[in-house]
Symmetry: C2
Subunit: 136 residues, 2 copies
DNA sequence: GTGCTTGCAAAGAGTTTGCACCGTC
DNA sequence: GACGGTGCAAACTCTTTGCAAGCAC
């Protein structure tokens, strides 16, 4: 599994791969392998979950993997624009924040700590507008 | 395993528990269960890793669990003061950021999205001062 | 003594991998 | 036709759980 500097167009187009990409494009939140699997399975009943995992690996260059605190990885397309999400703890929906709240601090932080910042991960958890109305 | 509003002092003090707490206190970074296990094992060779996991659960109220992108959970004491870390991708050391870069944005973000923010997770990855000097 | 805690073994969940067949280019 | 992709089954890693014995209070 060595990276050979491939880009996406080097890969074969299969019906599984195409459907996986379509599922991710239509997703309104990052999806778990299981979720992608179920959605792909709707149209291609014979897929197995290892095909999902192998494609996540193959499409690595255009997909971001984030492991949440429940131990499950979520996958989504890399945004052209760097964004973060407000993640609802009840309905699990996620709201995209266009402006990265962290950006402004990054330079200072980097200088103050002599630390070369390469990437960061910010997830914000709470209750969305809809779920705040529901008394638990 | 229902929470009965216990606090830490409700729990029995065992040599395993005490050693685990000591290990976490001396840690300079959040530790995996495996790392805690190995350190505890040095003094109590008979411990098993399930004891570590069960104590992480028991001490939940004073410990924060964070799952990194490698799929492994890390545990550390909850800081009185909310902090974040600069995590070095080479040596894995982590540098504490006292001032939360996110705090200032929180109120605005919450209002703009009608989202009740309950918690957030911010991890910053890069290379620390020491590791920047080393050519890979 | 009671009930939480531990050690041990086995089970679970999520993810990865070996292998033979299949499909794309 | 070559080679990457897929289905299937088994393996692996991290974490959780049932049970009986042990230990703290």
């Amino acid at each position: 599994m060595l990276s050979k500097n491939k880009n996406v167009s080097d890969y074969k187009s299969t019906k599984q791969r195409n459907k996986i990409i379509q599922v991710l494009q239509n997703a309104e939140k990052p999806l778990t392998a299981e979720e992608i699997y179920m959605l792909v399975k709707d149209e291609l009943p014979s897929v197995v979950i290892s095909t999902i995992y192998r494609n996540m690996e193959a499409l690595k260059s255009i997909i971001v993997k984030t492991v949440y605190n429940d131990g499950k990885a979520r996958y989504e397309f890399t945004k052209e624009k760097h964004t973060h999400n407000l993640i609802c703890l009840k309905c699990k929906k996620s709201i995209v924040i266009e402006k990265c709240p962290f950006e402004a601090m990054e330079k200072n932080l980097s200088e103050q700590n002599s630390f070369e910042i390469l990437e960061h991960k910010l997830e914000i958890y709470g209750h969305c507008k809809d779920c705040r109305r529901i008394k638990e």
